[in-house]
């Protein structure tokens, strides 16, 4: 409840924040505070200096340039969920954002803070990995772009340097397909969430079914911890569908190994296949091929269980993507 003492600086610009990072040992950036403050209150983290970047308005923008969406690092999950631009260009992002934590977490927590924390099961980590996003990082010597595949370097470890700041995340748009209202289609689903509350998943693709799907569809399904609501295991899929056949697929899973990972074997197994329930069920079983032996486990969900649930989540995401109920 009571954090240790620290020095506090409010940064007026990204450059000032970087300068403050350089001039203070053991300083941490404070954005929404939803990853850092809980640790500090339990006295599990005790930085000597906090640099508050919450006031940096230029890190709070959402813009669409051609086939990419650029989301400022300080944009909250709630802002992403509510953004018409995001929903139009890549509704998977909006759906995922709307399913993170609870309403208050979404009001404060930021996409930059979330990926900087680098929880191995983070919703953003898994989804951005599947989407092949890139992260803009700024330091004293200017900006650089890090591909998401290089960004996560271990549990709670990233490619961001000691004196660097994440400034934005750039995500490709999903290509249009004809059966939605002219935009890429994405959803988030939580096995412990309200989507499941008593009714199973309701899914409606306008009655057109799989045969009517064209273009990229993105979906995310997860199992959340019933206490913390942190994701335990999540699976994100983006499938490019033509005439009910999978032209290409990108699949990522989180909560299994120290970082979110692409499920290349599942992608390969899906590619070229008719997206039937049986083919999907067979393809997700290849997930094990992409995972080493060292699966994460805890009191709530052991390694063995995660290994079993991960393909189920990927399967659910795929079923949702093509409009099949999984129950």
């Amino acid at each position: 409840m009571y954090t240790p003492e620290f020095d506090y600086h409010k940064a007026g610009s990204v450059a000032e924040a970087i300068a403050l990072l350089i001039s203070h040992d053991d300083a941490r950036l404070l954005a929404g505070g939803h990853s850092l403050l809980p640790l500090m209150r339990l006295r599990l983290a005790r930085p000597s200096t906090l640099i508050d970047i919450g006031g940096l308005g230029d890190l709070k923008s959402i813009s669409v340039h051609g086939d990419a969406i650029r989301i400022g690092a300080l944009t909250t999950h709630g802002e992403i969920a509510a953004s018409h631009d995001v929903r139009h260009a890549n509704s998977l992002l909006a759906e995922v954002a709307g399913g993170i934590g609870d309403p208050q977490v979404r009001n404060r927590g930021t996409i930059g803070g979330n990926i900087a924390h680098a929880d191995p099961a983070s919703d953003w980590g898994t989804v951005l990995t599947a989407l092949e996003a890139s992260v803009e990082v700024q330091g004293a010597n200017g900006s650089r772009t890090v591909a998401i595949g290089d960004f996560f370097q271990g549990p709670f470890a990233t490619a961001v340097g000691e004196n660097e700041i994440i400034t934005a995340v750039t995500v490709p748009t999903l290509t249009h397909h004809e059966h939605d209202t002219g935009h890429g289609h994405g959803h988030g689903h939580d096995e412990h969430g309200h989507d499941d509350h008593g009714h199973g998943h309701e899914h409606d693709h306008g009655g057109g079914g799989l045969a009517a799907l064209h273009g990229e569809v993105g979906e995310y399904a997860k199992m959340s911890h019933p206490a913390s609501f942190y994701p335990v295991v999540g699976g994100a899929v983006i499938v490019n569908v033509e005439n009910s056949r999978c032209v290409s697929a990108r699949v990522a899973v989180g909560g299994l190994v120290p970082t979110p990972v692409r499920a290349r074997a599942v992608e390969a197994a899906l590619t070229g296949q008719e997206l039937t329930a049986d083919n999907i069920a067979a393809a997700v079983n290849h997930l094990a091929d992409d995972l080493g032996a060292a699966i994460i486990g805890d009191v709530f969900a052991s390694a063995e269980y995660r290994r079993v649930v991960a393909p189920v989540e990927v399967k659910h995401a795929l079923f949702h993507a093509i409009g099949l109920a999984h129950h």
């Binding site: 009571y2 403050l37 809980p38 906090l50 508050d52 309403p103 609501f229």
Partner: protein, 173 residues
Amino acid sequence: MKVPIKVTVNGKVCESEVEPRTLLVHFLREELGLTGTKIGCDTSQCGACVVRLDGATVKSCTCLAVQADGMAVTTIEGLAQNGNLHPVQEAFWDNHGLQCGYCTAGMIMTVTELLQRNPHPSADEVRAGLEGNICRCTGYHNIVKATLAAAETMAAAPASTTATTEATEATGG
């Protein structure tokens, strides 16, 4: 080293100097004496401390007072206008949406934002919107009922909610 802050709380400008580590909830309770906002946990789960910060509900135990500098805070004490209960308060009363009352301030603050964003929620949407608030007494049944009732009153008589809407807008909501 104390830091000066200026926060508008329930419409009143409050200037103070705080230790950087002071949590917003402690600032409200200890400095300003606004004890209606409760502390129920230390890990941002329970929602007893929910207030509106520039209109958005936040857990005031997961926000430093310095982070609220220059912003507007509405607490449970600021909901009733001119002695008239907010329709959400009224609905909690009418529908037995509380028992021990400890989670109530946070619940009510969450529901005011929920109904502002979604004036006609389904029961499932209400339940989803309450994910960040724990109640140990009611089993949530009557909180959901109260929220749906408040939605109806607010839709039926928008005039009666004008005062509060303005208040929320004043705080950036």
